[in-house]
Amino acid sequence: MAKTKKKFLSGGLGQLTIPVIAIVLLVIFNLIRDPSFFSVGISHNNDGNIVLAGNLISIINGASELAILAMGMTLVTAACGGQDISVGAAAAIAGSVFVKVLKSSPQISGGKVLLAFICACIVAMIFGSFNGTLVAIFNIQPMIATLILYTCGRSIAYWINGGATPTVSSPVINAIGSFIPGIPVPTPVLIVIAMAIVFKLLFKFTSLELFTQSVGINGSAARLNGINSTFIKLLSFIILGVCVAVAGSIGVSRLGLINHETLLLDVEMDTILAVAIGGNNLGGGKFKIGGSIIGAYVIQTLTITLYAMKVSSTDVKAYKAIVIILLVVIGSPVVKQKFGKFMSKFLENRSGKAVKGAA
């Protein structure tokens, strides 16, 4: 018991220590503030379906796009040692393509939605490989390389839209964005779970995880060992492209409207934060996608908590910043090391005293 406690206090959950502690603290804080905060109710929505409702559902549902993007971003971070800041703009492009294909004829069927999604995927993967090429082949800093798409992405989305805010309404889109009839869990949550499983299987049946880590830790050493590091980096951006297409399509489906200016606005910063809170090394190398997913939920819990406390949404960002600074500093290697040393000393002293007392 003492051993596990010691292990936990000195960072025994590994990189997951900080995100797990953060989310536990947020939950405790909310339970003290309002014991009914996490109560989940069952209600009927306006389509007559039985659905789950409550803050907990809002958090899990609202963080879906962020969680999906964080998965892809983790991979890019690990392989390239840098972040893609164009995910929001790329999602706007993917969302625009999605809507464009849907609006090509008035009838919207399930097959057409699938086609639209595949088109969005292809476009997002092309833009992903554009970023990937700049990073992997031309060795440009990821943040600089993706700055290009970050700058022009929303203009491109505007061209595709050909208008400010095209709308699209159909039961199928509604099912993707909110609830499938008969299933009380919001569909975006199911999509997150599906994506997580896909990643899990990908890591289980391929060497992607190992290769990505080794490329991230030392690209040239990996290359000498026969790993095509250029390809791995490129691949990470293409996989992120798929995540972007999924997130963009969900974002559009939620409201049945694409606004190229506001769709997933500033999500790139939250995504990078999620990766950082997840305890991943932003300089590349070892990574845990689970950490980033928890990081995404931490950010969303924070936002919803602040909204529930009626903090003005202009101030929300400032409060978020304070909490995030704390998390990142606590999670930094320097503090972790100091804390670990302190704890082991503290525990040693105590057990020493206990032994003396017995004698």
């Binding site: 209600s43 929505n45 031309f138 491109i156 805010t165 409207l257 190229h260 997933l264 202009t314």
Partner: protein
């Protein structure tokens, strides 16, 4: 050397992308129209001579409002109507200033401006006056002396808010519990549309349930309304300062099974009169949509052609508010923005 080559190639790649991007947002309109000005001489005109008009505006990509505004300008100041139109679109004040300077040097007859920022225009407008160019402001005011422009055709955002709030008062609800979703704080539209409602909160005729800015973001509006629903607080009015945010709010209501619109529990109010929003009104799923008219071109054209006299330098564009119970398809076709 190889590395250098690679870097250079990437540089060119990056530059070309950025340039095309800028080209689209900044100069597409101007280049398109300089083409048409080339064959201006062939166009038939009643007076023989075309009136040269330079328009400095924000890019159509800014919003549905701007898109309609730009289209309206291009439709009214057409060659068929006896105009030669030069346009420049940018969100940046300094670029707009340069373009205005350029129009003055080129020698236009009239300069029409919707400025990105309210300051910094004194010098350019003085130069225009010296060159004998008449200046009209549209949509947005500029902080300069009244003598520097002929007239300003603008929307009175405060009046839009008052019209909407008056409509709400006319509904004669027993109690008003209002969820107020604001636009980007400090923007003209936000200040105007918030003012009238704030007055009601202070007077105590309406209760404020929550007042939050979603900075025109639909998804953010949805989150705000979700959090109100989750808190269990009662509300019967959603006052969103644009259509997109109203749509976000309605999505949250739908998921929570709260009825809205005509005969619904919650009254939904939006602004901007996008066509899709007016269709929501027609379907009875929203209650009210306030107009912010982007159509100033005809008024300015009438003044230029002497069909309208200037009584006061500031001309308030006439605007409507639409009620779900009285709106018709014809209204949507006439006043709706976009498709």
């Amino acid at each position: 050397m190889k590395r250098f080559k690679a870097m250079a190639m990437a540089g060119v790649l990056a530059l070309s992308l950025v340039l095309t991007a800028c080209g689209s947002s900044g100069g597409s309109g101007s280049s398109g129209n300089s083409g048409s000005s080339g064959n201006a001489g062939t166009a038939a005109s009643s007076s023989g001579e075309l009136i040269k008009v330079g328009v400095v505006n924000n890019p159509p990509s800014e919003s549905g409002y701007r898109e309609a505004n730009v289209n309206d300008m291009e439709a009214v100041f057409s060659e068929a109507n006896g105009y030669e139109l030069k346009t420049f679109y940018s969100l940046k004040n300094d670029e707009q200033l340069q373009a205005a300077q350029g129009f003055i040097t080129e020698g236009v007859d009239y300069l029409l401006i919707s400025a990105a920022e309210t300051t910094g225009w004194d010098e350019v407008l003085t130069k225009a006056q010296e060159a004998g160019i008449k200046v009209f402001l549209f949509d947005r005011m500029i902080d300069v002396d009244e003598s520097l422009y002929e007239a300003a055709v603008v929307s009175d955002m405060a009046k839009e808010g008052e019209t909407a709030v008056q409509w709400l008062l006319d509904q004669k609800l027993d109690t008003y519990n209002v969820v107020h979703i604001q636009g980007a704080m400090g923007s003209d539209a936000q200040i105007g549309r918030t003012g009238a409602l704030d007055a009601q909160f202070q007077a105590g005729t309406m209760n404020l349930v929550v007042q939050q800015t979603a900075t025109w973001d639909e998804a953010e509006a949805k989150k705000i309304v979700e959090s109100v629903i989750n808190s269990g607080e009662d509300f019967n009015v959603i006052y969103a300062e644009n259509d997109g945010m109203a749509k976000g709010a309605v999505a949250a209501l739908d998921e929570a099974g709260i009825t809205h619109g005509v005969n619904g529990k919650v009254i939904v109010m939006g602004f901007d009169c996008n066509s899709w929003a007016l269709r929501e009104l027609l379907a009875g799923s929203w209650n009210y949509d306030g107009q912010c008219s982007p159509f100033q071109a005809q008024i300015i054209s009438d003044i230029i052609q002497g069909k309208r006299t200037i009584d006061s330098k500031i001309i308030i564009n006439e605007e409507k508010g639409f009620d779900a119970t009285t709106i018709t398809q014809a209204d949507i076709d006439t006043y709706g923005l976009g498709e």
